[in-house]
Symmetry: C2
Subunit: 174 residues, 2 copies
């Protein structure tokens, strides 16, 4: 059966999932962000079948999130390095860490975000970059943006009329 | 083939993906967060096959992220309402919106986060709740938490010794 493409959808969540929504892809980006680059490193860390790892790496390379680099000529050997766009995905991974720790870690957190120098644990929260206000409902909501289609507008019936604020010259930059 | 369970892994990202990592699940939570509750509403919004929607709703109910409520006795009819834990997932969805807008929306953002009252666009960024510092590498990194196994520690070879800060009484609360 041909699967419906999420990439054709206008929603930025769907377009993201088109790139990273396959099982394993986000865990590969997690490990790549932690510095893993070799096929056998990923395989060992994930306990993933080699054929599936090959496919997932290929699709992440096609999505521009991982770069395949030859690091040995004879024999030819490749490593897989997270690109700047893939490194940017860290914000999503860290949001997952916060949510997972809160709801699915009855024994306590096994992974936390810390200050790299001091080791002090951070408490991740999404805020508006300019005002510093926490991005939480009901104070904030998602709403159709400038490029929204009729369907996207329909999906947000209660959204306020969006206007550009001083922070909106590039509203997507995290 | 039996699929490896992500829920058995210790990583909070993997445990989260065990609940929401199936294709469609996050888009269902997106629509539920926007107020959709009826089966046919989800079906129309997503363009998803009914049998797949049934399966995904069932797994989200089992994960405690959506509640199935009878709203009509005769005929028996059910609605699907996002639970508090499911609403909490908004932080991850909004991180996806920011990342997707930045990298996969060449025509401009079609969905943005706005102030519910004024409609002013927000610029989402992950910060430490206490210090307000942006959670970005290399200043911050993920590190083994109190409940980390040997494998989780091994995955973070460069992580600093984690210590509890004033914000760490509940480091997982977003």
């Amino acid at each position: 059966m041909r699967r419906k493409s999420f990439g054709d959808m206008q929603c930025p969540i769907a377009r993201s999932l088109e790139r990273v929504g396959e099982r394993w892809s986000m865990l590969i980006l997690r490990d790549g962000s932690l510095g893993l680059t070799r096929f056998d490193q990923f395989q060992e860390s994930l306990g993933i079948a080699p054929n599936i790892l090959t496919r997932r790496l290929k699709s992440l390379v096609e999505a521009g999130l991982i770069e395949r680099r030859r690091y040995s000529e004879r024999p030819p050997r490749y490593e897989y390095v997270v690109t700047p766009a893939g490194r940017d995905f860290r914000s999503v991974l860290w949001a997952f860490i916060a949510w997972g720790n809160k709801h699915f870690a009855p024994e306590g957190p096994s992974v936390v975000i810390v200050d790299s120098k001091t080791g002090a644990a951070a408490d991740p929260i999404l805020v508006d970059r300019v005002s510093g206000r926490p991005l939480a409902a009901p104070d904030f909501c998602s709403a159709p943006g400038p490029a929204a289609s009729a369907q996207t507008r329909q999906r947000h019936p209660a959204a306020p009329q969006t206007r550009r604020s001083s922070s909106a010259s590039n509203p997507s930059r995290p």
